[in-house]
Amino acid sequence: MNNTSTFIKKEFLHVFRDRKTLLMLFGLPIVQIILFGFALTNEITNAKIVVCDYAKDDASQQIIGKLQASQQFDIQRILLNHKQIETAFKDAEIKMAVVFPANFNSDLLHQHKAQVQLITDASDPNTATAISGYANQIVMDYQNELMQLQRVPYQINTEVRMLYNPELKAAVNFVPGVMSLILLLVCVLMTSVAIVKEKETGTMEVLLVSPFSPFLIIVSKAMPYLALSLINLTIILLLSVLVLGMPINGSILLLYAVSTLFIITALSLGLLISNRTASQQSAMLISLMGMLVPSILFTGFMFPLENMPYPLQLVSHIIPAKWYYIIVKSVMVKGLGFSAIWKETLVLLTMTMLLLVVNIKTFKIRLT
């Protein structure tokens, strides 16, 4: 009995001495409860929309007023022309466009029947469905008010158009998400573990004594993972085209180019982790908890970022996978060219440069 308590005491000592693990043990539930509680709601608030009002009459103005007053929508602009809608979707993060035809009110008054068009960005099918549902509800409310007021069976139909993804395929959402996560996982986890392994076994020291340049050691170590990731990417793309029936609408070359950039970003992250850790376990733990989990939460393919509190939206900006996810969706789903994704590409490029500079600095420090 006494032996057992001695043993248990020792185990408790191990746990208490390992401050990092202890911190994580209690830190994790706190962070997760806060995240899931506040950030990760599927409810939609303040979705950015544009309105194209050809009618400019009583009825259209009243519905616009109702849209504006609702918590769900935030009208960005009133457009004059149908053609501006597509550019609005491309340039800004617009979730929906509402179009009133020219004779909206008169149709309503004379034929007791009118139509509103709702165009949504269905590259995120869940949000698109939810948003068009909300908008439909607001239009119905207006219709019911009219009917009660004037006792005439008015009927306003909403015609919903799902832009980019008319069939509302879920693959359109998760394929880019899976691409971001797999590339991140392979590159960050595998490189950091591979480099830390050389530190653990002592071969790194032998390499550093040799005339082979430290920079080239790192480049050589990263090469297989770059190649493997490109093969991985090809497998994912083939599967999504052949099995899931999800076409690549944009340039394949552009897709590979930005993917290579993202892979390099991830490799430099792996390198950063390996520079700061001494054991394979901690490299693995940091890669998984520090990289993979935030990437799942903040990339935007599981939980819409727009609905998160502002500080958390700021956090999402530093997640490289978020930018890559936006790029992949733009190129693969929306079929857009480089002009539409240069901002995101620039962000990734800047991140990569910064990471590489930090890596080179810390690598030198380790040598002295």
């Binding site: 076994t201 002592g202 071969t203 020291e205 032998v206 004594v209 040799s210 005339p211 082979f212 040598l367």
Partner: protein, 245 residues
Amino acid sequence: MDTVIHTDKLTKRFGDFIAANEITFDVYRGEIFGFLGANGAGKTTAMRMLCGLSKPSSGTATIAGFDIYKQTEEIKKNIGYMSQKFSLYEDLTILENIRFFGGIYGLSDKQLKEKSEQLIGTLGMECEAKKMVGALPLGWKQKLSFSVAILHEPKIVFLDEPTGGVDPVTRRQFWDLIYEAADSGITVFVTTHYMDEAEYCNRISMMVDGEIRALDTPAKLKQEYAVTSMDEVFYRLARGAKRSE
């Protein structure tokens, strides 16, 4: 005699802690130089500075005639290193390891082929050449590790406790390899805890608390301290150490 390692007041500080304090010594060509000291005495720090793994805080040194601050690349080409941990790739075969380490020292394909055949022949590992290094017994690994460290015919080879955990017979065989290397003109700089190994060295230095307290041939040191074994020399010198791990 050619001087291959020359240090003058070489010092390494980590904050307030002086790991190596004004170390001054010379090592001559073809010599087996034993570098002794208790744990924490500063041996590893001193050796890391000489190999270019660590920058000295002050003092000067030349390795194979090259300046330790300015000509690190030249130094790297002219030294070999065997670390305390076994440092070949266990998931590569003997042959692959030889080719890799020879390759990073810039040996040509032809040289690599010749060298690896010769090396495997000397070690009598013909049957195992295509086996994973991880499957070899520790003694074999260490001999292989040493042979790989001198594959590029360096002027100096640094051995950091090369025979830890190895049985006496294998250790003896390992020292035969060291003698062979020294005979061919390679200077051997070796740290060890085994006092019988200290006897094998041409000259030894003793580090205590970051300083070199004694430097001479084993015979003269025993004479100086009026004792019969290196064990006792070590004990006398290290007894007063303030630092220990």
